[in-house]
Amino acid sequence: MDLAINPFSSWHPLRDMIRSIRACKTAAEERAVVRRECAAIRAAISEGDQDYRHRNMAKLMFIHMLGYPTHFGQMECLKLIAAAGFPEKRIGYLGLMLLLDERQEVLMLVTNSLKQDLNHSNQFIVGLALCALGNICSAEMARDLAPEVERLLQNRDPNTKKKAALCSIRIVRKVPDLAENFMGAAASLLKEKHHGVLISAVQLCTELCKASTEALEYLRKNSLEGLVRILRDVSNSSYAPEYDVAGITDPFLHIRVLKLMRTLSQGDADCSEYINDILAQVATKTESNKNAGNAILYECVETIMGIEATSGLRVLAINILGRFLSNRDNNIRYVALNMLMKAIAVDTQAVQRHRATILECVKDADVSIRKRALELVYLLVNDTNVKPLTKELVDYLEVSDQDFKDDLTAKICSIVEKFSQDKLWYLDQMFRVLSLAGNHVKDDVWHALIVLISNASELQGYSVRSLYKALQACGEQESLVRVAVWCIGEYGEMLVNNVSMLDIEEPITVTESDAVDAVEVYLKRYSADVTTRAMCLVSLLKLSSRFPPTSERIKEIVAQNKGNTVLELQQRSIEFSSIIQRHQSIKSSLLERMPVLDEANYLVKRAASMQATVSSVKSAPAVTPGGQLKLPNGVAKPPAAPLADLLDLSSDDTPVTTSAPTTAPNDFLQDLLGIGLIDSSPAGGAPSTSTDILMDLLSIGSTPVQNGPPTSNFIPPGIAETKPVPVTPQVVDLLDGLSSSTSLPDGNAAYPTITAFQSATLRITFSFKKQPGKPQETTINATFTNLATTTFTDFVFQAAVPKFIQLRLDPASSSTLPASGNGSVTQSLSVTNNQHGQKPLAMRIRMSYKVNGEDRLEQGQVSNFPAGL
């Protein structure tokens, strides 16, 4: 049934194709039909079939819509556009807009046809070309064809004018430099009568204001009067059937004008005053019983909030929002919540009045409304209302559906941390959140909780008891288990002896073996992940020293993991067995309670890791106890590893001679406890140094590890090779064991990491490395972090240096920068300073990227290079 080549009726085969696609019962059948059709179209193309070209295009568009590749039709579009007849051109342009985009090189070929059509005598053909240009033009085409479009803005025909205006929007967006050419024409278009021209012109003005401050100034002076007149005309006009929506004339025009007014009057008191009256008129007179009216009111409120409005006008706006919020229509409530977020910056008190209603919205059945309301509540929290609000939210956490718990938990944790003057209250809230939604709690949150407990000596007993109780009830929450297990290991005796009871507590009876039981359960549970189980092992080891009678039992439990398939657990268990069995003399001092964790330091690091990168946290030079500056070794340290240095066991401070291993993100606790997951580092080549630390720790005064403890005839891979890696001096000092034989690699004078560039949205840090013997060469490791809340795409970093310096840029690790500092992009630069020692390094940098598809550009100069580069 090869209908595609049926030469008789021109449109029916399309119908037939659609029918046969519709008749398909399975996706496979559909694919088969599409394949057959595509083959027929390809054949027609290669035969140079003229008559049915546009019919084939129509088919291709349908196939494209279904999500199949249609690139082979692109050239056909161009041929159709070049044809003389209107129907062919029509479908050709449509195909062009659907099948092509500005990135394709084919597009360059169409510039000429477009230029011809823009000069065509038939206004419809001109319209087609404008429309296509407006939808897909690239920066180059924009430059080439801008004069044609400027000319068409003066055309007599309103349809051409409006399309030319919208086409200009695209041009200005692509080439912001051209904005000044369009501002005069844009302002004069506002004097027209035709609504299509007006709405296009208003949008063009809005775009111009964004593109250039000069245009903004110009339009402030020259367009405001016209805008007020337009708004007055449409809102007072009598019934206009063509533009009427539920008794209101052209709400779309209303909205665009209000939006432009906002753009113009933002931060400008004169303009704001000028439009005061008309805004008041729109806000009071617009009917609010239909959607169209509400849309206008909504935009009007947004404009009032955005400009320097009088207080009377603001009260009016807040009252409209209050009405919206109590509306029964969910759409209206949604936009009210949305708007209140913006209003909060203007008038917090007024928004606080609606707190009860907003809190109700958090519990709404509709997820869109819930999300908005939660954001809003988060902004509303202050010192006075934090306790009742948190209680409400935590109560709701219990019943909310799973999808929403992530958001809700994150917000509650953030609120609780922000207002945590009262430590007992903080602990109580966190314990509740952990019990209710521990699986949704982010790692840094429970890390912070552990740090806090460690610092609050008077509340440690209370914490461990509360956590023990919570563990009995809600053991399935992973992060609750982790925190509880950690506390039991550290403060086990406080649990058993009811040490430092608070007045509000009831004494509980927990025996030593109960405590061991509690931990053992989670070590053995299959669903527990490796981190949790590793924490259980450490906790048990500590308990064995806290409760000597249980030591034998713990030894058995630990020994059970000697055959564990997870290398980490296996190794730990062998080591711990050996500690329990053979190192009684140092055991108690080895297993003492952790020193108080440095809270201030942690908070700083956490804040840093949230915004900044990886290497700025890590590659800052660390001073060893010996007083030597150590060299940042270029190890990319995961951002969630802020606690890594707590025990100074962190492997990454050790200079590594091989290309360094990277530990998997989020396993900071491994670092905390000196545990490095071996399986997360590449086997063989780059050994994880934390392993060695422990090996060294265990080999104090006894046989070298290679010979293996007698309990094991299994030597984990990696140990044999890891031996030569230098030992961290701290660890050695700590244990008074081996004398440090570590020597730092020579020729490696250390240079501090610098922040090369910082704006509100972007931070760049440089860390430096030199090859020994080549003082003029420097390898700069640049790390880019996005501080804004939207992701940057197409990120490109460029650098320029003075003539006496040579620069080579390696490719960046990615061109996408995740939002809010969640990860970063690195790029290395090799710099050769030919006048080393005489002139310092200097560099100009330029970063271009896209935010939500819009181009952004930032540039700066780096002059704070450390001396000696």
């Binding site: 119908r15 659609i18 129509a58 568009m61 819509m65 999500g67 199949y68 590749p69 209107f86 029509r90 479908i91 449509l94 659907l98 985009d101 500005e102 419809f124 429309c131 407006g134 939808n135 349809n159 409006k162 399309k163 919208l166 086409c167 929007i169 695209r170 967006r173 609504h195 299509g196 709405i199 949008q203 063509e242 533009y243 929506v245 709400p251 779309f252 025009l253 909205i255 665009r256 939006k259 959607n291 169209a292 509400n294 849309a295 909504y298 935009e299 969910n330 759409n331 949604y334 936009v335 949305n338 059945a365 509709d366 997820v367 869109s368 999300k371 939207t790 992701t791 939500n852 598809g853």
Partner: protein
């Protein structure tokens, strides 16, 4: 950029029209359509017509068996977009007379022409049904 895409989807989740005003690869489109449609179809009539998805806001409205979805920027007036969807449907209604899913399927190119008259580069150009339909009717007369 205000409007980022316009989608018509039937109750079974099949796309009946797709127009994007920003570049997305085929795979991205398929994924996006799948995710959004699943989200929207799962909602009840009582729930509001706005869904937040990735960095877009999707405004949707249902007419009989067809869903009309419009993806917009976060700062766009959602209520106005609802009104725009209605205008689009009314325009199709005027042209086809009681428009149904099949009309859109079999006259896909005409619906695209209408949409083209109404939206350019993500901005609304024309809101008068008469002006939108004039070129299309002219072309029909000619052929």
């Amino acid at each position: 950029m205000t409007i980022r895409f316009v989608l018509f989807v039937n109750k079974q989740g099949q796309t009946r029209l797709a127009q994007y005003y920003e570049h997305l690869s085929l795979d991205e489109r398929r994924a996006l359509e799948g995710e959004i449609v699943r989200k929207c179809l799962a909602r009840t009539d009582q729930q509001c017509s706005f869904v937040e998805h990735r960095n877009y806001k999707v405004v949707y409205r249902r007419y009989a068996s067809l869903f009309f979805l419009v993806g917009v920027d976060n700062d766009e007036n959602e209520l106005a977009i609802l009104e725009f969807i209605h205008l689009l449907v009314e325009t199709m209604d005027r042209h086809f007379g009681n428009v149904c899913e099949l009309d859109i399927m079999f006259h896909l190119e005409k619906v695209h022409f209408m949409l083209e008259e109404m939206v350019m580069n993500g901005c609304i150009v024309e809101t008068s049904k008469q002006n939108i339909l004039a070129p299309i009717q002219l072309m029909e007369k000619a052929s």
